[in-house]
């Protein structure tokens, strides 16, 4: 048997799950889709005393409309979101990114919230949710709180979740009118973690100039990084090729990636610029035709 022995808990309600987390906090891991946790268990890189399997918890497996947005609870599989006609229409960024997350066999099981709570800085979903300014719904026996994506992701595999807290869902507000989105990544092989990725959300003012922009990169820092210098270049400007070129240079200049066996720091910096340009060019064309 691969994993170390653990005590398996299968709560059937959020309250039961939170009670188990409160009791065992530091000694427990929450199991949802298991596509990141199960490999860690199999390798014995994680060996929790308690495994809290939330797959039997009622009421967490369906996407639902909430006031001004959509709520994706903790057990919604990535494949479900990818295929949901409502979510595809509301947030084209989600299927664009999800289609590049591993393979269908992984997305059939892996959950959106699981990927967020795992917080791999190379993963697509934390980057996309930061670009969408999503809100994490976090619960414990002490109560509930909301955490903006930008505060949720803190470091490699580290979120602002406390040991007794559960990410019960993520809420994404509807995009304002005249908003276009884009996603681009570069991975050596389809389905691998990307060397770098960029997600963008741009809202145009009535004159076609950029009124609001969120541009976020992965693979270049310990958490999704907002490309604030590039955003400043874009704000108030029409996204002409010159402006997009300036944003590309700004993006390249503001990231400080580390090199590793897969790619040098310089190459990652170059990639972020190129990916930002691709995302912004797509967004500019879409917005100009809207």
């Amino acid at each position: 048997m691969k994993p170390r022995p653990f005590t398996y808990l299968a709560p059937t309600s959020v309250d039961e799950a939170l009670a188990a987390l409160a009791e065992h906090s530091f000694d427990a891991k929450v199991l949802a889709g298991g596509q990141s946790l199960a490999p860690l268990l199999n390798f014995r890189m994680a060996s929790p005393e308690y495994l809290i399997d939330i797959n039997d918890v009622a009421g967490l497996d369906r996407v639902r409309r909430v006031d001004g947005g959509w709520h994706i609870p903790a057990l919604v599989r990535q494949r479900t979101v990818e295929r949901s006609p409502e979510l595809r229409a509301a947030f084209p960024l989600l299927p664009a990114a999800l289609e590049q997350v591993a393979h269908p066999q992984i997305r059939n099981r892996g959950t959106v919230c699981g990927s967020l709570a795992h917080a791999d800085p190379a993963a697509e979903l934390p980057t996309v949710m930061t670009a969408l300014d999503a809100t994490m719904r976090v619960a414990s026996v002490r109560g509930e709180r909301e955490v903006p994506a930008e505060e949720f992701f803190q470091f490699h595999f580290t979120t602002s979740l406390e040991d007794d807290e559960l990410l019960v869902g993520v809420t994404v507000d509807d995009l304002p009118p005249a908003t276009s989105t884009g996603f681009a990544e570069f991975a050596p092989r389809h389905g691998d973690f990307a060397l770098a990725a960029v997600a963008g959300v741009v809202t145009r003012a009535s004159d076609g100039a950029v009124g609001a922009v969120r541009l976020v990169a992965s693979g270049v820092a310990a958490r999704p990084q907002r490309l604030t210098a590039a955003e400043k270049v874009l704000l108030g400007q029409r996204p002409t090729p010159d402006v997009v070129g300036a944003a590309e240079r700004a993006a390249r200049g503001e990231v400080d990636p580390t090199g590793d066996i897969h790619a040098s720091a310089d190459y990652r910096r170059h990639l972020v610029g190129v990916l930002a340009r691709r995302v912004l060019t797509t967004i500019a064309e879409e917005g100009d035709h809207a």
Binding site: M1, K2, P5, T7, L9, Q35, D53, I106, N108
Partner: protein, 176 residues
């Protein structure tokens, strides 16, 4: 392990799993840390499901759970409780007649050592349920979640396109 003060159903070292595997109801008491892959192989003796990397990368252990292709090395056997599991042993008909994708793999020499084959078959079987696979690019995407380390993928691409035509005779396809 006693009932926990929080009232949660607690894990014992073992738990009973009731699951329908290839249409047959199975029940067994298993260690809670046993993977679904090892449960199928060691407890049920369904050794057609192969175990390669054991961390979700190679796809050799792919089975269907409630109709969806998943990595059985990344699921616990206890998580299959109350669910339907289908393995490569269930692809052929009761009389042993091969499924179209098995027939096509054989015809196009889409296997050599065969270790990865059952995982590929299960991945393709799920994709074929969803609709025709009409282009080489689409076939390669369907095959992309599994790894073969000996014979290569060209025969598999041909096999997928042909099996799609067999399953969806009216769909257009690249395969002549």
């Amino acid at each position: 392990m006693p009932e926990s003060p929080s009232g949660t159903r607690t894990g014992h070292e073992t738990q009973v799993v009731r699951t329908t595997v290839n249409g047959v109801e199975r029940e067994a008491e298993v260690a809670t840390r046993l993977t679904l892959a090892d449960f199928l192989r060691h407890e049920l003796r369904l050794t057609g499901t192969h175990v390669g990397c054991e961390h979700g990368v190679c796809g050799a252990c792919t089975v269907h759970v409630d109709g969806a292709a998943v990595r059985s090395c990344l699921m616990l056997a206890v998580q299959a409780n109350g669910r339907r599991v289908d393995t490569v042993e269930g692809l052929a008909g009761p009389d042993g007649e091969l499924a179209p994708i098995q027939e096509a793999f054989s015809k196009h020499h889409a296997l050599q050592c065969g270790f990865c084959t059952s995982g590929f078959l299960m991945s393709v079987a799920e994709a074929l349920k969803e609709g025709p696979i009409e282009t080489e690019q689409a076939a390669r995407e369907v095959l992309g979640g599994n790894i073969c380390r000996c014979t290569g993928y060209a025969g598999m691409v041909d096999a997928v396109l042909e099996a799609s035509q067999t399953s969806y005779p009216t769909a257009k396809g690249e395969h002549a």
